[in-house]
Amino acid sequence: MKFKLIYPKWNKLPGQTTFNLPPHGPVVFAATLPEYVEVSFTDENVDVIDFDEDCDFVGISMMLSTQVKRGWEIATKFRENGKQVIFGGISTMLHAEETMQYADSIFLGEAEGRMEEVLSDWRTGKLKKVYNFMTDHPSIELVGPARRDLYKRDLYNHKGVQMVDLFHASRGCRFSCYPCAVSYLGGRKFRPRPVHKAIEELETIENNRLFIVDNSLAQDKKWEEDLFRAMIPLKKQWISHTIDDDPKILDLAAQAGAWYVYQAVFDTSDYIKERIKRYHDYGIGVEGTILLGLDNQTEDDILRLIDFLLEIDLDLAEFTVLSPFPHTKAYDDLVRQNRIFDHDWNHYNAGQVVYHPKNMTAERLQELYDYAWESFYKDESQEEKMFKLFTKVMLREMENGTYIPRNRNLANKTFGKDVVRNINNSDN
């Protein structure tokens, strides 16, 4: 049986450095398919979909709200060609009702241990319109190594440098943060993978550089310590979201190869400044994530926050405007107050204002968002700051003997395309 698995493309934010990372959701899903299924995977961000490819059943995996409209278009084309299409992934869960209009079936929830049933229904012509396992999570023990063999590796390479591999060590989240839907999607209970299972998967990943995509590793200190301790011998270098602000954990994280972490910067307090310093004290870099447009922010607050970022020693900063994703408190609040004016999911990219902020106009918030990016990267560009972090990781790898030089054969390629060089050929 031939299963065509597709990850739709989306429009990248203008003016920012674009890196195409190998997507995680589709290959985690592919690992749940029975062995008799032959999977062919296309990530449309780096490759072209062949709508005439020989296949029996089509799966569309979507992570972002900005993918859903393209996902619906792709499904429509395949269905016109007589193929049945099933949707899954995070944004299928967030946009389930609409997605159902373009699907033969939608799968809600986590796929481990469920796909034999779905495929059996498909084979016998009894495919259900909805497979709903939203609150019936499979045992976390069932989560196995992702099918990274499906990647066309050369397409995730920029001028000979392989992009990081994505990996997850847990699911669910015990926090219910204002703009976040993770607790709705993965449940409000933190479900860490057994450390030996996580390590078993890490050992299968050839890439030494990883992005641990878990929402927050800081949810169970004992597990976090055990995980980091077990990771030390692997000599991986990794990026992650927040880790616990605890000297013992920071020390273990550093030994385990913490490269840099994403840390929310939500005010101008000494707490934030000191927290960033503590990461740095352990040799861990920090990319600040700054959410603009919350109801408690005035224009002055945002301007002060931008100034503060320039004072503290952040390695990188990522600015976003509030995107009211469905199934978040932010969405509920704005719906009740009738403040959402743009319902085009392509605009829910965390860079475009789609609602009326409380303390300024939407246009002014958009200007402040642009100003924040420009101000932070005025003296040193995003590429330059990234290069500094990259140099740091290369030096570490050289020290611990894991450094792999860039692939010279791909030096003129960026994500599968030829590098365009702006060479001045004038005779002057």
Binding site: S176, S183, R188, L294, N296, K329, D332, V335
Partner: protein, 123 residues
């Protein structure tokens, strides 16, 4: 069985989107021939759909469970305060007005209530 509406104060279990098991706080009392229905969001203690996302369906499920005529409810959503310094976790109350179409609630419209207004309804 006739319910005494001055003592409904419970955790109400309901079917959220896709029949997801969901929970909210529920208080009902009768005032001037209307049923004042107060649903409270439980945040982390609600395993499923929020009261706002489920508003039409939740209101109908409450009417069905307590045999309340659909045109006799005053329906109020309550977002409890979260003891946070962030203003969007302050306590808020919204009256939700629905249209009734083919025995279903549709087209919800929310109006925020002041403390005086909520006191009027709840006392």
């Amino acid at each position: 069985m006739q319910t005494s509406f001055n003592n409904i104060d419970e955790i109400f279990e309901f079917k959220g989107l896709w029949d997801i098991h969901s929970k909210c706080g529920l208080k009902i009392h009768k005032k001037d021939n209307k049923y004042i229905v107060l649903v409270s969001e439980l945040y982390q203690d609600n395993p499923g759909t929020s009261v706002t996302q489920a508003s039409c369906s939740l209101a109908k499920q409450i009417c069905d469970a307590f045999q309340i005529p659909m045109n006799e409810i005053i329906y109020i959503e309550h977002n409890p305060g979260m003891n946070s310094k962030l203003s969007f976790y302050n306590e808020e109350f919204y009256m939700v007005e629905f249209e009734i179409l083919e025995n279903e609630f549709v087209n919800p419209k929310w109006t925020q209530l002041s403390k005086e207004q909520i006191n009027f309804f709840l006392t």
